[in-house]
Symmetry: C3
Subunit: 363 residues, 3 copies
């Protein structure tokens, strides 16, 4: 597939300079771009790269003298990072899934598959499931009984959608994602050692756990519109009510949402983050990679947590946090700088306590 | 499916009040319950919810005046959390897997499938594998050669059971779980930099690794009775002996057990926890979410580790721990409170070292 | 399959003593070895185990008196751990995948499958994909359009190889690994709160995110020769260029590589480690379990990071690190020892500030 510079500029709402009819087949970094590539030179630091590569057209930084850079055509964009979204959406061929339902797929006769859907090899769609119009479901995915998936979903290979899960429009699931596994919820006939430890805040506790008895998950998972779930991520169903993910929230790879968790709207949960059961995450929350959030707490709107943060208690809206346990980011960074200075501090205090011996050493 | 209040009370070993013949179709939180739902109002705080919802029957707290709450029937339970196990087991419909072996499944002629088993679409069962009676295996699962799985297993979609793995009765595997991947074990012809670094405890070490050579995993995985493994969790086979999980232990989603690991009985390993190779975990150990345990150590019976704990050394039985590196929970929480006070402490010590300048500032 | 002691010794480049024609069927730990097992007694501490077991042959430590140990045959190796690689490679039967292409597999007519390949049930190979000679692909794996996989690959069940991914020779992918998921890259029309927070280093920032817009991943994943990827690990494709893994690097289970990440040669990335987008990892880097590396930084050659390390900034070559945030290993261990002594230090400083009250208490 080829794209003219004029078409690309139009898609980005940007201005084209030079030969708007020049066409490219893809995008590349300036130094490795060939004559068929659109070079991405959105910063002056790429000027040298442009001269090393062979691009004839580029997206350039505001103010660039594209002709002096040896280009035949150029596009200027005000916010380069945002332009990447339009450009890559235009050029992404998406996965090849043949239209219609592959002969090998097992689609229950009571299931409904929307118009224009593309269902790949070895897909299983269970009884009474409903798949929206224009949905694309790649090989080996399974959609269990009574699940509902909105229009224009893109479900990659090997994704598992559990029974009764309800998902909105334009859902994207990367390979291996699991939506609707059973929650991890076990109870003992008598109060368990863990329950006691929580109250004792770390005091030794004596009782022994009896065998764990399973609490089954009768609830489901409800996912809003425009949600994306990363590769091999897992979302457990709720116990009674549903585990929920709000509109436009995005989960990266290997993310775990426990039972009854509520994630608000417009959140980003980066790779390997985990949210324990019944915790509620506000709107526009951004959790970096490997963040952990304990169970049964609230994380306010607009919280930003740096990579690796372990959130052990309720966090007010707007807080920018880091660390284990989570603190205000600046506070944790200062603390970690201070850790390095502790040996000297102990030394100083020892000297202050023993002024005479200090004087002796100084001799 | 419908359940009478009398039947539910009997299943819970609890007492029914009012119309024991009243039937419900499911359970719900009080405020959102409809007339066909059993409301779960096990705490006085739910009284208001009951008046907002439309439930005619509820499980109520001990001492509740169910008639004054407008109910037609009620069940009183002594330990509400434990009652959830009986109630949800009764009401869980489980996954729909048609009885018998689906026409698309590939079952090796030398494999044995027990009586009453239900094998879903696109399941693969390898040579000489043995599947117990009443087992349910959902779509896309694979059971490799010579694996043995006990009676009444529930294996969800896309689960991978490797060659020669042996699993007891009533096993539950959530979607995407992998039991019997190869261990992660590599060696260099000469002593590697990592081996040196371990001994040098962080001193710079000079030697360079040669290329890593693979140690294959000849061992298998042995899993006891009543074990559950979460979605997309992974358990590696042992090098020579077996990696082991004891009876009644439960693993949450995205948990990793390295080669040769031994997990005792009645353990709970929460989401994203990882145990490195050859470590031995005692009985009744509870590891919170994202806990990490280094290789080749022992964790004693009844240890409880809070979320995110990184256990870098042997831990005695009964310890309640938190932090990185793991400490007694109270000790780590105190340490983290002290981190916040460090800037002031440095200030104080500076002042003590320079009494004159302090006096100047005080003027 | 059986192996003579002479053959095993030859495979290890080691010396056989006693009856070189004696054959064994497998390897075992000394105490549990039967008469058909080769006992692994590479350290004098196993002498007792040998007498408990029934092995007739063993690999013994340098200097062992094998006849006094009651053995009929013995092999002596200089570096036991390294000998394990040769022994286990010899004895590993590997997965049973029947030669040829299973009748149920869906192989696109435009795909090329190399000579001697074994393709299991329900495998899907997409348009124009190229699979090398001698490759083994287990059940339920999918290889998307235009992907290239080198000779002698071993791809376990349920592995997902995305479109246009390029992989070298002798690749091993454990079950459920995903290579070529889309990157996690989102942008807002205006500068987002997260971008601001990065610059403000944790100061409260006021702006709210608008909805996230997706940056599609046009790049692919390029993997060198002799690479192994663990069970349920995920590697995202690059945005424009490729995400890369160098020759001979090994990834454990549940590892996550973000978009544009470059991992050098001869690296080991242990279980549940995650590398955020665009970060570059040098050669011979060893990252322990659950290590996290932030985005857009460089990790120098030969860095070794202990389990759980969170690397938030550029790390020079050769550094041995631990902690959150990462420090030199010895420094973090010292810091954590000091945390425990902080309560006493606060006490001391309080006393120094109030010499009179201290004297009072001493009375």
């Amino acid at each position: 597939m080829r794209f003219t510079i004029g078409d690309i500029a139009a898609a980005l709402g940007a201005t084209a300079f030079g030969d708007a009819e020049l066409s490219v087949a893809g995008a590349a970094e300036p130094a490795s771009a060939g004559p068929d590539d659109l070079a991405l030179a959105m910063d002056p630091k790429y000027a040298e790269g442009l001269s090393q590569g062979r691009a004839r057209a580029a997206i350039v930084w505001d103010g660039a003298d594209w002709q002096a850079l040896g280009l035949e055509a150029a596009i200027v964009v005000p916010r380069p990072r945002y332009a990447m979204s339009g450009l890559t959406r235009l050029m992404d061929p998406g996965p090849e899934i043949a239209p219609g339902i592959h002969a090998s797929a097992v689609v229950d006769p009571t299931a409904e598959v929307g118009e224009g859907a593309a269902i790949g090899p070895f897909v299983v769609i269970g009884p009474r499931a409903r798949i929206g119009a224009g949905a694309r479901i790649a090989s080996h995915a399974s959609i269990a009984e009574d699940a509902v998936i909105g229009d224009h979903a893109l479900i990659h290979s090997g994704v598992r959608i559990g029974a009764r899960v309800r998902i909105g429009a334009r859902f994207i699931a990367q390979p291996g994602a699991v939506v609707g596994a059973d929650g991890f919820s076990f109870v003992t006939p008598e109060k368990s050692r863990v329950e006691e430890a929580r109250h004792a805040r770390g005091q030794e506790v004596g009782a022994r756990n009896a065998a764990w008895t399973r609490i089954h998950s009768l609830g489901t998972v409800e996912i809003g519109d425009d949600v994306e779930v990363g590769a091999n991520s897992t979302i457990d169903r709720g116990t009674i009510r549903a585990t929920r993910v709000g509109d436009r929230s995005k989960l990266d790879n290997l993310v775990h949402l426990g039972h009854n968790v509520v994630v608000g709207e417009d959140c980003l949960l980066c790779g390997q983050t985990g949210i324990a059961g019944s915790t509620v995450i506000g709107n526009r929350v951004v959790l970096g990679g490997q963040v952990g959030v304990t169970d049964n707490i609230f994380i306010g709107d607009d919280v930003v947590a740096g990579g690796g943060t372990k959130i052990l208690s309720k966090t007010p809206a707007g807080r920018v946090i880091l660390g284990y346990p989570a603190m205000k980011m600046e506070q944790y960074l200062e603390a970690s700088r201070n850790w390095r200075r502790l040996p000297r501090l102990f030394e100083d205090v020892r000297a202050l306590k023993n002024p005479v011996s200090l004087r002796d050493e100084d001799d």
